[in-house]
Amino acid sequence: MSIEYKKNLVLFTDVVSVEDAEPLLEWLQKKSAARVDLSACTHLHPANLQVLMAAKPVISAWPTDIGLATWLKSALEV
């Protein structure tokens, strides 16, 4: 699984594919205080990114991949 749901935390690992966007959206709708751990993520499909941008969950950890982190911060840290 490239995406793993804990109680209030969602873990992204490796490449998160387009299929993961829908469940992610559903999960985020249910959680008001969701946190996202991106540390192990190397790439995510923009559909997921859109969901994150819209839901604005707390990003508990940015990707260790600096390039990806820069991109994501530009989108999520507004």
């Binding site: 992610l24 923009p46 990114l49 941008m53």
Partner: protein, 889 residues
């Protein structure tokens, strides 16, 4: 270049030609549904073909064309001159791409922009008729698109949000740029539906070549989560890259319409940013620095700047400006204007306007260009006009001053919306004046001045009505193509006649050429006669020799010419071979056999007629081989052979003949079985049964009516197989030889002439007439003394080198009532010919030379005479009848 690609190009040219013609015809006859369907089919097929290759630019345009034609076909769009023009433009573009593919094997990514523009212009027409209201929107969109492209190619217009880029990245990019690297700002707006096409725009953006910085923005505010559609892409990507333009074009070649590229002048990156710290308070430093700069004391300036920087907090606007100043001084020491601008910017803490380094087309214009659609632009123009009308009304009462306020407020709103903030103070001053004077005149004057300025500032009158706007878009298009320079697009196909390498010629034309060269050969052959006459009749030896010398030259040229024409008719045997893989696969599967097909020498060439005549015999042979030759896998295994048999079809050229060998490693032919069968069918008598060698027996399969199969299957066994093969091959002067070894396999050898056009004949004379005998069948010519001829029963025979040769008189065979003439030594002329495996002597009166002739088959009434295989014209004008030796004997 692969053969497939070559074929595609040759076909594409045909299609383009066809499309052009059909369009012209349609212009004269727009209602012709048939023409329209045909046109659609052309475009459709061409598009389909182009999809086989990696030519997105071509496919995109053709796809748009196809959609348009489809709409026309279904009466959703009316055929118009404009439509034809655009389609022709598009086809010219495709032709241009074809040329490029032919020259370089691929399409340069630079065409992507043209391709997108053409496709858009075609698609526009589709929308047009759907709803008239949509037209304006489409025009507006097209205008905007062209404008955007003008920007992209002629420098930038809108200030790019470069400030968003972190200073360190900008400084880095600036350093790159000063080393001669071109910087590009990219706005990449993927289609909303792109996720469904399997695209990952984020991945695309992240992997952009030479990327220095990038960010992602949303196109619209996010809806509440419950209403969100995760699969509708609403993200925009913005990037700064240091990759060359070509590389970027190449990288984004599949989505040129979604990407806007703007080249970034290095200095425009020098935008100080940071905390203002209470406002501009650095006047002392500015004055000092400018005086240093004025005196040319750059070192001092540098020192001063560094000292100032050390004293200031690094996150201040001031520090940022100083860092830029130092960097620019380091990298562009001669650009003193830039230093000045940076220093002066400290006065107001407003980033320097690097505008003069950019080609601002409409920066000062009232006309809204910044981020406004042209629909909005129109609305604003209307708004301004209304304000102006209001202002022209006389002010009669003090309450009417409110009108001035309202108009001023509206105008200031317009200015803000169009980004023209510099004009705001002027407006405010004018408004104040107007209110003081209680008259609208000052404001009106200001507005008129402003409009005037705008017109001057923008050569293209953007506030004018929509028609002119459309005009400007065409100009812009022109500018694009001019600016690009490299694009040859826009030329009509006629301007640049592509010379295709291959011609498609009607076969009748080639046949005519063949006939003509035949006549040429014949009349050339008349020259030796002429030379002979010059010598014998007129006694001029010298002339005779000269004619002969001339003849030699003409002869050489004619032969070369003949050879060249033959070459045109040559085709590779692969034309026939290509059907076998499928045939073998299907047939062997049906029979439950395992057979591997090996094809060799497919590139061997022969005359078209020969190749075509090969088709059916080969199919027979292969079927026979599969049906009778190969054993079932278990039988083969039991015999110690591999379960899968091998069928080899090999073509080779041997001097002037093509040899086709079909060999299998099946069970072979058992001569005793053949003999027995032939005997049972009454094809041979008992004596022959004993006498025939195995080799001869095997060749009995060619006898008419022969079949070894007990059951007639749907594949073979009807007794027409090999007989038909032999007849078909002999028809084109070919021979068939069958060799077989029981248990090992069978080999069939077809030997065919390379070309049927020229026949080599021996000319013989009998009863004062001359006849031609094909050299293929001639074995030798001998003079036999009359006393060496014996008569056995009623037939004449002679013994040649220990072999008995039956003799037949040509006169008798042709029913001419005359005995063969003997020469002075009472010897008879015997022409020994071979029929199958037998030699027969033909008694003739005399032998003449051998000759190459163009054999014409008998036609009309004479076609039924099987005695002759044809006729030919001799050099002296006489007609030579060529005997069909097999028939007369």
């Amino acid at each position: 270049m692969t053969p497939l690609l070559e074929q595609f190009l040759s076909e594409a040219r045909d299609f383009l030609q066809g499309i052009g013609e059909k369009l012209m015809q349609l212009e004269n006859d727009p209602g012709n549904a048939e023409l329209m369907t045909e046109l659609f089919r052309f475009v459709h097929t061409l598009k389909g073909n182009s999809g086989l290759f990696e030519f997105p630019e071509m496919t995109r345009v053709l796809h748009a064309g196809e959609d348009l034609m489809d709409a026309v076909r279904h009466d959703q769009v009316k055929f118009s001159k404009e439509l034809a023009d655009r389609l022709l433009d598009a086809m010219d573009f495709v032709g241009l791409l074809c040329d490029e593919i032919e020259a370089t094997g691929s399409i340069g990514a630079t065409h992507a922009v043209d391709s997108a523009r053409l496709a858009a212009s075609l698609r526009e027409l589709i929308v047009k008729v759907d709803s008239p209201a949509a037209v304006t929107a489409v025009v507006a969109a097209a205008l905007l698109a062209t404008l955007a492209k003008t920007h992209a190619s002629s420098g930038e217009v809108e200030p790019l949000p470069l400030v968003d880029i972190p200073e360190s990245v900008r400084m880095d990019a600036y350093r790159h740029a000063c080393n001669g690297v071109a910087l590009h700002w990219l706005d990449y707006a993927p289609e909303e539906e792109c996720f469904f096409q399997g695209d990952d725009p984020f991945f695309q953006a992240r992997n952009t070549p030479g990327i220095l910085w990038g960010n992602i923005t949303a196109r619209q505010p996010w809806p509440i989560l419950a209403e969100m559609d995760a699969y509708r892409c609403v993200l925009d990507f913005h990037l700064l890259t240091a990759a060359p333009r070509e590389e970027l074009d190449e990288y984004f070649r599949y989505m040129p319409d979604q990407v806007r590229m703007v080249s970034v002048p290095p200095l425009s990156l020098a935008l100080p940013d940071g905390k203002h710290n209470g406002g501009p308070v650095y006047e002392d430093f500015v004055v000092h620095a400018i005086s240093l700069l004025g005196d040319g004391r750059l070192e001092g300036l540098g020192r001063a700047a560094r000292t100032m920087l050390d004293l200031s907090k690094p996150d201040l606007w001031l520090s940022s400006a100083l860092r830029w100043l130092l960097l620019v001084m380091e990298l562009e020491p001669e650009n003193q204007d830039a230093f000045g601008a940076l220093i002066k910017s400290l006065r107001h803490l407003v980033p320097p306007q690097w505008g003069e380094h950019q080609q601002e087309i409409s920066g000062k214009s009232l006309a809204p260009t910044n981020g406004l659609t042209s629909a909005e632009a129109e609305a604003m123009t209307a708004l301004i006009t209304v304000q102006r009308n209001i202002l022209t009304l006389p002010i009669e009462a003090s309450w009417q001053l409110g009108r001035i306020k309202a108009a001023a407020a509206t105008l200031s709103g317009c200015l803000k919306a169009s980004g023209d903030l510099a004009a705001l103070p002027g407006l405010e001053a004018a408004t104040a004046n107007a209110l003081d004077e209680a008259a609208s005149t000052p404001l009106l004057t200001w507005l008129d001045d402003k409009l005037e300025q705008t017109r001057q500032a923008t050569p293209v009158p953007k506030i004018e009505p929509a028609t002119l706007v459309v005009d400007s878009s065409t100009e812009a298009v022109q500018a694009v193509s001019d600016a690009e320079g490299t694009s040859k697009f826009g030329q009509r196909a006629e301007d640049n006649i592509a010379s295709p390498k291959s011609l498609k010629v009607d076969q009748t034309k080639i046949d005519r050429l063949m006939n003509l060269i035949g006549e040429m050969v014949v009349s050339k052959n008349a020259l030796p006669y002429l030379a002979g006459r010059a010598e014998t009749v007129f006694g001029v030896r010298e002339l005779s020799r000269e004619i002969k010398a001339q003849y030699a030259v003409i002869n050489r040229i004619a032969e070369e010419m003949q050879d060249a024409i033959m070459q045109i008719r040559m085709m590779p045997v692969s034309f026939v071979f290509q059907r076998f893989p499928r045939l073998v696969r299907d047939t062997s599967r049906k029979l439950g056999k395992e057979v591997n097909l090996v094809l060799e020498g497919e590139e061997t060439e022969a005359d078209k007629n020969i190749i075509e005549s090969l088709g059916d015999p080969l199919v027979h042979i292969v079927r026979n081989s599969l049906d009778h030759g190969f054993e079932l896998p278990e039988v083969r295994r039991a015999a110690g052979k591999p379960a899968a048999g091998t069928l080899t079809i090999r073509a080779t050229q041997e001097s002037d003949r093509v040899v086709i060998e079909v060999s299998d490693d099946g069970k072979g032919i058992d001569p005793t079985v053949i003999k027995q069968k032939a005997y049972e069918k009454g094809l041979i008598d008992e004596a022959a049964l004993e006498r025939l060698s195995d080799q001869e027996a095997v060749n009995l399969v060619f006898a008419s009516g022969f079949s070894t199969m007990e059951v007639v299957s749907d594949l073979s066994g009807r007794g027409v197989g090999m007989d038909v093969v032999r007849t078909a091959v002999e028809k084109v002067n070919g021979t068939v030889v069958l060799e077989s070894e029981k248990g090992k396999g069978t080999r069939l050898r077809l030997s065919l002439p390379l070309s049927m056009a020229v026949t080599n004949v021996m000319i013989v004379e009998s009863d004062g007439q001359i006849f031609g005998i094909p050299m293929d069948s001639v074995v030798e010519t001998v003079r036999v003394p009359r006393n060496a001829i014996r008569t056995i029963k009623s037939s004449q025979v002679t013994v040649l080198r220990g072999c008995i040769v039956p003799l037949k008189s040509v006169n008798t065979l042709l029913d001419i009532d005359a005995p063969p003439k003997a020469n002075d030594e009472d010897e008879l002329a015997v022409l020994v010919v071979r029929i199958g495996d037998e030699s027969v002597g033909l008694l003739v009166d005399d032998f003449h030379e051998t000759m190459d002739i163009i054999l014409k088959p008998m036609t009309g009434m004479l076609a039924g005479l099987s005695t002759y295989s044809g006729s030919a014209l001799m050099g002296d004008g006489s007609v030579l009848m060529v005997l069909n030796v097999k028939e007369i004997l």
